[in-house]
C-alpha cells in the first residue's frame, strides 16, 4: 500500500488517500463536493541488478580443502564505483575468496553475485564485466606480448587496437614483440595489469597487484587504480601490506585465518583501532624546548625521546606542522622517518582484544 496526498483542483483542499500501486480510485472532495479520479503511480520496475548499488556481493562463503577451512563463512559487499581493499596476511584466504568470486574454484557453500549475476549459474555473463590480475601472473610463453594480448582481446570481443597502447602505458612498450617467456617477473606483472585493464572493465579484481614490482611499478599501478575509479570502475584489490591499500581504498575488509574480522572505511577503521603513524625525527641535539613545542602541535598524541631521536605518534596531517615546530624551536633535523602502523597491529586489534 502507498499513501499519497491529492490536491482538489477546485478548492485546493488536500486529501490523503491510500491504495495499491496502479489502482484507480474515485475521490469526492469533502469540502466542495467535486468528484475526480486518481490513479496511484506504478512502482518503478526492479533494477536489473537486484541489489541497488552493490557490484560484488559475497554471502556466507565457505571453502574447505579436506578438513581445513580456507575461507569460513565470509560475507561482504563492494559498492559500485568504490575501491575496496581486501587485506590479510599470506595464507589468510584472500586468493581463495577471489578465485571463488571468479568461479575458478567451487565453494562449499555461499552465494556470490557479480553485477547481480550469480557466478555459479550465470558465470559467463558475470565475467564479461571483470578485468582480473591473478596473484600468479602467467602468459603463453611461446607468444609475444602483443600476441598474448590479442588473444585476450579476442576472447573479450574487444577491438585489438587498444592492446599496443595499453602495453606502452604500462611501461613495457619496447617489449611488445618479445616472447613473454623471456620477460622478467616485473615485466610480466606489468603485462598482467595491462591484460586486466583491457576494454576498461567496470569491475577490476586485482590480487596482490604490486607483487614482484619495483617502487616505480607500484606507483604506476596505484595511479591506474585511481584512474579506473575516475572512469567509474569498481576496484577490488587484495594486499598483505596495509599502507599500500590505505592510500587508495575507500573501504577495506580484513581477513585472517579465513574469517573476515572487519569491514569498514579506512578512516573509521583507524579511529576504531586508534592506529596512528609514528614520525621518527633524528636531531643534531635534543632539548626540552623541542619536545615541549612538539607536544603542543595539534594532532600529536605522544612524544617520546630516545637520545637524539624523538618518536612522535600523531595524525597523518600533523606531520608537516611537527617538522616546522621542531625547526622553530631550534632543532637541526638530521633524518626523518615515518613508520606506518603495521597490519600485524591491525590484526592484533581485531583478533585479540
Amino acid at each position: 500500500m502507498t499513501t499519497k496526498t491529492v490536491k482538489c483542483p477546485k478548492c485546493k483542499n488536500e486529501i490523503t488517500v491510500t491504495g495499491k500501486p496502479g489502482e484507480k480510485i474515485q475521490i469526492i472532495c469533502p469540502k466542495c463536493g467535486s468528484k475526480g479520479t486518481f490513479t496511484f503511480p506504478q512502482k518503478n520496475p526492479e533494477p536489473k541488478t537486484t541489489t541497488d548499488s552493490f557490484t560484488i556481493e559475497v554471502n556466507n562463503l565457505t571453502k574447505k580443502y579436506n578438513n581445513f577451512k580456507a575461507v569460513d563463512d565470509v560475507s561482504f559487499s563492494v559498492r559500485s564505483g568504490e575501491i575496496f581493499g581486501f587485506l590479510g596476511p599470506n595464507g589468510a584466504g584472500k586468493t581463495t575468496t577471489i578465485k571463488s568470486m571468479l568461479g575458478l574454484i567451487y565453494a562449499n557453500s555461499g552465494e556470490i553475485k557479480i553485477n547481480g549475476f550469480d557466478i555459479k549459474k550465470r558465470g559467463k555473463e558475470a565475467k564479461k564485466y571483470i578485468g582480473y590480475l591473478p596473484e600468479k601472473v602467467a602468459f603463453y610463453d611461446n607468444l609475444t606480448a602483443l600476441q598474448n594480448m590479442y588473444f585476450y582481446a579476442e576472447m573479450k570481443t574487444i577491438p585489438k587496437e587498444g592492446c599496443k597502447p595499453l602495453i606502452e602505458e604500462m611501461g613495457i612498450g619496447e617489449a611488445v614483440n618479445k616472447k613473454v617467456g623471456k620477460f622478467s617477473k616485473g615485466m610480466q606483472q606489468r603485462l598482467g595489469m595491462a591484460r586486466a585493464l583491457l576494454g576498461n572493465p567496470p569491475i577490476l579484481i586485482l590480487d596482490e597487484p604490486s607483487g614482484g614490482l619495483d617502487p616505480r611499478g607500484v606507483a604506476l599501478i596505484r595511479n591506474k587504480i585511481r584512474e579506473m575509479k575516475d572512469k567509474g570502475s569498481t576496484v577490488f584489490v587484495s594486499s598483505h601490506i596495509l599502507a599500500e591499500v590505505q592510500e587508495v581504498c575507500d573501504r577495506v575488509g580484513i581477513i585472517d585465518k579465513g574469517v573476515l574480522v572487519a569491514e569498514d572505511s579506512v578512516s573509521k577503521l583507524s579511529v576504531k583501532l586508534n592506529l596512528k603513524p609514528k614520525l621518527i625525527i633524528e636531531l643534531e641535539k635534543i632539548s626540552e624546548k623541542i619536545v615541549e613545542s612538539v607536544k603542543k602541535v595539534e594532532g600529536v598524541e605522544k612524544v617520546e625521546a630516545f637520545g637524539v631521536m624523538i618518536h612522535v605518534t600523531c595524525n597523518q596531517k600533523a606531520k608537516s606542522k611537527i617538522i616546522i615546530s621542531v625547526e622553530k624551536a631550534g632543532g637541526d633535523i638530521v633524518n626523518i622517518q615515518t613508520k606506518e602502523p603495521s597490519l600485524e597491529e591491525v590484526f592484533m586489534g581485531f583478533t585479540e582484544g
Binding site: 571468479l102 591473478p134 600468479k136
Partner: protein
C-alpha cells in the same frame, strides 16, 4: 556455445604449440621417416608387387610409433600445465565456459596433429606419385584419414590425463605409460593369450579367430592397421570405430572432470 571463443582458443593453441621445439623436432623426424619409407617403398619393387600397398604398410609402422607420441606431447599439459603455470586463472576469468575451453583446445591441438600428418604425407604423396604414376589413390587417402583419427584419439586420452592428475609431471608419466602399454604390452598379452589357449602354430588364411579376439584387439586404437592383416578381419568401418570411440569418450570425461576441478 560460443564459436568465436572456441575458434580463438583453437587458434591460440595452434600458434603456441607450433612453436614448441619438441613438437617441431618430432614433426621433422616424422616427415623424414615418412619420406625415406615412401621413397624406398615405391622404388625397386618388381611388377608383381603392389607398390602403394607395400608403401602404406611401411608407413603404418611410422604412424603408430610417432603420431601417438606427438599427440601425447601436445595433450598431457593442455589443462594441468596451464593450471600449474597460472595462466588458467586468467583464461577462466574470461567470459568463456569450461566446455568451450576443452573443445577449443582439442580443435587447436588437433589441427597441429593434422598439419604434421598432412605435411609429412603430402611430401611422400608427391614422391609416390612420381615413382608410381598410375595408382589408385583412395587407399592412400583413407590411410591418411585413419592416421588423423589415431592422432586425435591419443590427443583426447592425453587431455583426459591432463585433468586427471594434479601435476604436469604425473600427467606426462601417465601419458607415456599409456603409449608404452598400447604400443608394446598389449600385443604381448594378446598374442600370449591367443597362443596359450586357442591356437598353435602359424596363423594362416584358413585359421578362424575366436569371437572375443577382434573386440579385444581393437580396444587398442593402435591396432586399427594391424587388425586388417588377420584372417576374417573386420571391415575398415568396424576398425575405425575404435579410434572414434577413443576420441569421443575421453573427451567427454575430460570435460566432466575439468568442469568440477578447482583451478
Amino acid at each position: 556455445m560460443d564459436f568465436k571463443a572456441i575458434f580463438s582458443i583453437a587458434k591460440k593453441e595452434f600458434i603456441d604449440n607450433f612453436r614448441n621445439k619438441w613438437i617441431i623436432i618430432l614433426s621433422i623426424i616424422f616427415a623424414i621417416l615418412v619420406v625415406i619409407i615412401s621413397y624406398f617403398g615405391s622404388q625397386g619393387f618388381g611388377q608383381d608387387w603392389s607398390p602403394l600397398e607395400d608403401t602404406i604398410s611401411g608407413l603404418e609402422g611410422i604412424v603408430t610409433l610417432i603420431i601417438p607420441i606427438i599427440s601425447l606431447m601436445l595433450g598431457y599439459a593442455a589443462i594441468v600445465g596451464e593450471i600449474e603455470k597460472g595462466s588458467m586463472s586468467s583464461l577462466l576469468a574470461l567470459p568463456v565456459n569450461r566446455c568451450e575451453i576443452v573443445i577449443g583446445k582439442f580443435l587447436g591441438l588437433g589441427s597441429v596433429i593434422c598439419s604434421t600428418i598432412l605435411i609429412g604425407f603430402g611430401i611422400s604423396g608427391i614422391i609416390i606419385a612420381i615413382n608410381v604414376p598410375s595408382s589408385d589413390y583412395m587407399p592412400y587417402l583413407s590411410f591418411i584419414g585413419v592416421s588423423i583419427l589415431l592422432g586425435l584419439a591419443f590427443l583426447s586420452v592425453s587431455m583426459f590425463f591432463s585433468t586427471l592428475f594434479k601435476k604436469r609431471s604425473a600427467a606426462m608419466g601417465g601419458a607415456f605409460f599409456l603409449w608404452f602399454f598400447f604400443a608394446i604390452i598389449w600385443q604381448i598379452i594378446l598374442v600370449g593369450i591367443l597362443f596359450a589357449t586357442i591356437l598353435s602354430g602359424d596363423i594362416t588364411e584358413s585359421t578362424s579367430m575366436p569371437g572375443w579376439f577382434f573386440p579385444f584387439l581393437l580396444a587398442n586404437p593402435l591396432m586399427v592397421f594391424s587388425a586388417a592383416g588377420f584372417p576374417d578381419a573386420p571391415s575398415i568401418y568396424w576398425r575405425i570405430l575404435s579410434p572414434i570411440l577413443w576420441i569421443i569418450i575421453p573427451l567427454l570425461l575430460t570435460f566432466l572432470r575439468f568442469e568440477k576441478k578447482d583451478t
